[in-house]
Symmetry: C2
């Protein structure tokens, strides 16, 4: 895979990966991947990231069961950002929402407060256990 | 805007901003914004970023004329990533494409080469001048 040598990794050897539902085109989450994670997405077709907090590779769904099948990866002009078009097997967000982007704010909104626009699909305690 | 105090800025006081076309839902580009850029997007409704290379605030379109009207900002569960839903006034990519993500690769593809899936809309030399 020669193009992988041209990827512009950041100072931590990562690139941001925007995960988009291939059917609805909703942005579900943004993760970070290193070379190994990109290679794994291309060889196995499963959404895979580098966890910056746990400092290890993780394949989405290994705890929750809510994995994502990668249909294609798109690369930007600078080769420093990736969009992964995926088929999600369940809600993307560890907080129990379909997408991590469940809150919005409109420019010039009167009150400047975040508005919740999604409903919770599961209780995180049921999926990850209470902590 | 009290929620802005809760944003989890990275080590450079930035958050990634995924720019999505509000009509087609295509991801057009990913930029980086600091607090001032987020505030400007909310007060003026124009896509605004921090240029990491030029180290200054930039409003998309100030060189190319291809600005973007921000219809809403979506915030993720961790408040460390933003999706901006925009109405683009022209092609997003400085290379002359509608979207920066004009190349793709499918998992388990035979040759592992990037495939171009968009056509150039303009010649960058015409818009930015030859360098």
């Amino acid at each position: 895979m020669p193009f992988i040598d041209d990827i512009e990794w950041d100072g931590n050897n990562l690139v941001p990966v925007v995960v988009q539902d291939v059917a609805t085109k909703d942005v579900l989450m943004v993760g970070w991947s290193n070379r190994e994670a990109i290679e794994k997405m291309l060889s196995c077709g499963l959404a895979t990231f580098w966890s910056r907090s746990r400092k290890k590779l993780w394949t989405k769904g290994e705890s929750s069961g809510n994995g994502m099948v990668v249909k294609e990866l798109r690369f930007d002009c600078d080769l420093d950002t990736v969009v992964a078009l995926v088929e999600p097997k369940g809600p993307a967000c560890h907080m129990g929402y379909r997408t991590c982007f469940y809150r919005r704010l409109k420019p010039m909104a009167a009150d400047g407060e975040l508005e919740e626009i999604e409903e919770r699909v599961f209780d995180p305690d049921d999926v990850y256990g209470s902590k």
